[in-house]
Structure formats: C-alpha cells, structure tokens
C-alpha cells in the first residue's frame, strides 16, 4: 500500500509495515533529495539512514504485526532530512550504544548496525514519543555547497 496526496509531488509517503515497501521508501527519499538539490552522497546517506530505520520499525517496532509507517521530507535553509513516524511501542534508536566494531566477531551484535549507520551517515538523529503514542525519528543532513562535495564524510562515530 502506497499513498500519495493528490495534486503533484507529496512530501509524505505512508506505507504498510512490510519490508516489501522499502524499495518505494528509498525511491521517495532519492526523489526528494534530488529535488532539493542534494548531491549524490547526501542522497546515498539519507537513503541508507531512512531505509535502515524504517526496516527496524517494520521488523522490530511492529514485529510482524500490521501497522503503518509515515515518512515525510523535511527541509530548512541549512538542512534536509526525513521524519519517520510509527504507531509501534516506544523505542528510542538514538539511545542504542555504538556497536563494538573492533571487537571479535563473537561479541558483535549486527542488529544494531542499521542504527549505527543511520547515526554515522547523518548530521542529526532525534527521537521523540508522539503525544498520541508512537515514535517519531528524524534524520537530517546539512546542505552542502558544491565546493564541499568532495571533502569526504563527516564521521560522527568517533565523537560518541
């Protein structure tokens, strides 16, 4: 199930909690980053972050139960990003610890990897419980001028 508001490009996509919907979410993200003038790297980072977070909502948040996930494009003069809302039990991904990347494989928990990627690939990563219940997670990246485009990734992993 994919719904778009009538009359031109919608800033919101609402999907059923089904991993089969992830490709549509990624297309939505790519389309909006491009329309906002984001470069390829910004698009790739936001696609990855949103895909990982929505996948977690579907797999963990709803845990196979029916539900919906709403993804909205959000923009300011300095940042572009996406807001993900669900009606699943409260869960704050921003509070998950950074996976121990340098540990032996035996001590790894790959389940936290998606959130780790979402955190390190973005400049803003926030969560709140919605007043009516459910979660809202927002990921944002700073707009970059073309002269910054090749200056590599901003890596927050070492700051946390």
């Amino acid at each position: 199930m994919t719904e778009r508001a009538a009359g031109g490009k919608s800033d919101t996509i609402t999907i059923s909690a089904d991993v089969a919907q992830l490709a549509g979410v990624r297309a939505f993200v790519r389309e909006h980053v491009a329309a906002a003038g984001g470069d390829a790297e910004t698009a790739a980072d936001l696609v990855q972050a949103v895909d990982e977070l929505v996948c977690n909502v579907v797999g963990h948040g709803y845990g196979g139960r029916p539900g919906i996930v709403e993804v909205a494009f959000v923009a300011s003069p300095t940042e572009i990003g996406f807001r993900i809302r669900d009606d699943a039990p409260p869960f704050d991904p921003t509070a998950l610890p950074v996976p121990p990347l340098d540990r032996p494989l035996a001590e790894r928990r790959l389940g936290g990897m998606g959130v780790h990627l979402a955190r390190t690939l973005t400049d803003g990563f926030d969560h709140r419980i919605l007043p009516a219940g459910g979660n809202e997670v927002t990921v944002r990246k700073r707009r970059r001028s073309s002269t910054e485009a090749s200056d590599g990734h901003h890596d927050r992993a070492t700051e946390r």
């Binding site: 494989l105 790894r108 790959l110």
Partner: protein, 139 residues
C-alpha cells in the same frame, strides 16, 4: 534483486547479485549460499558489482554465508529479526577466507567499511580476480 549462482568447479560457487539488497530479500541470499554449500561448495565468491544498494541486512546475509561455509548454522531466518541479534554467537577467531567479495561499488564498500566488516573478508576488484584467487586457494 537478482541472484545467479555459477559453479566453476566442484569446490567453488560464484554468487552474483544485481539490484538492491535489503530487508525484503536478504534471506534469499542466505538461501543461495546454503544451496551452494549443500551442493558441495567449500568456497564462495560473492560478486557485489551489480548491487545498487545494500542495507545492513545484507551484512547479515554475508555473515550468515560465512558461517554456513564454516559448517555452522546461522539462526534460522524463520525466526526473522531475532536471527540478526543472535549472530553474536559467531565464532571469535574470525572468518577463514572461504567467502570472498568481488567488485563492490564504492557505496557498498562504504557500508562494509563503516560496519567494521571490510577487514573480515578479502575484497577483490572484480569477479575474475576473485575467481582466480579462489581457484588458487583451493588447489
């Protein structure tokens, strides 16, 4: 995502991926690895050159195939997302080179790098180079 498996010789399988590897299809890749292993493959080259996207679920699939080649069983995909969490039961000594990766596009290599998995697998620039190395290793 398209998955194609070739068997250059009895010991070796090459699994080629094209399209987007994500939470909807990573279990298909694990099954392709299992089929190859059950069919006698002791080494697998995973050709990533056709991938346009890989989510962290792809990392789980790669990890699972490496375990299968070690004769170990990743948690059943039937258990869904619990399988991802249970991968912490993987062996401590690291992986032994039975699974190698070929031709990851820059965006895919970045995901491998940021997850700390790049150093666990030999990564070759293309399928032919990876295949030659795998043949040499099994000789």
């Amino acid at each position: 995502m398209d998955i194609t498996t070739e068997r250059p010789n009895a010991d070796l399988a090459v699994i080629g991926l094209a399209g987007e590897l994500d939470g909807s299809n990573f279990e298909h890749l694990i099954e392709a690895g299992r089929l190859a292993r059950d069919g006698g493959a002791r080494r697998i080259v995973l050709d990533l050159s056709g991938l346009t996207y890989m989510g962290s679920s792809g990392l789980v699939a790669i990890h699972s195939i490496a375990l299968l080649l070690r004769g170990q069983e990743p948690t059943s995909p039937d258990n869904g997302w619990q399988a991802i969490h249970d991968l912490s039961a993987a062996p401590a000594e690291g992986l032994d080179g039975a699974l190698t990766l070929a031709g990851p596009p820059a965006s895919i290599e970045r995901v491998l790098d940021r997850s700390g998995m790049l150093g666990l697998f030999a990564v070759y620039p293309d399928r032919a180079t990876a295949l030659a190395a795998a043949v040499a290793a099994s000789a």
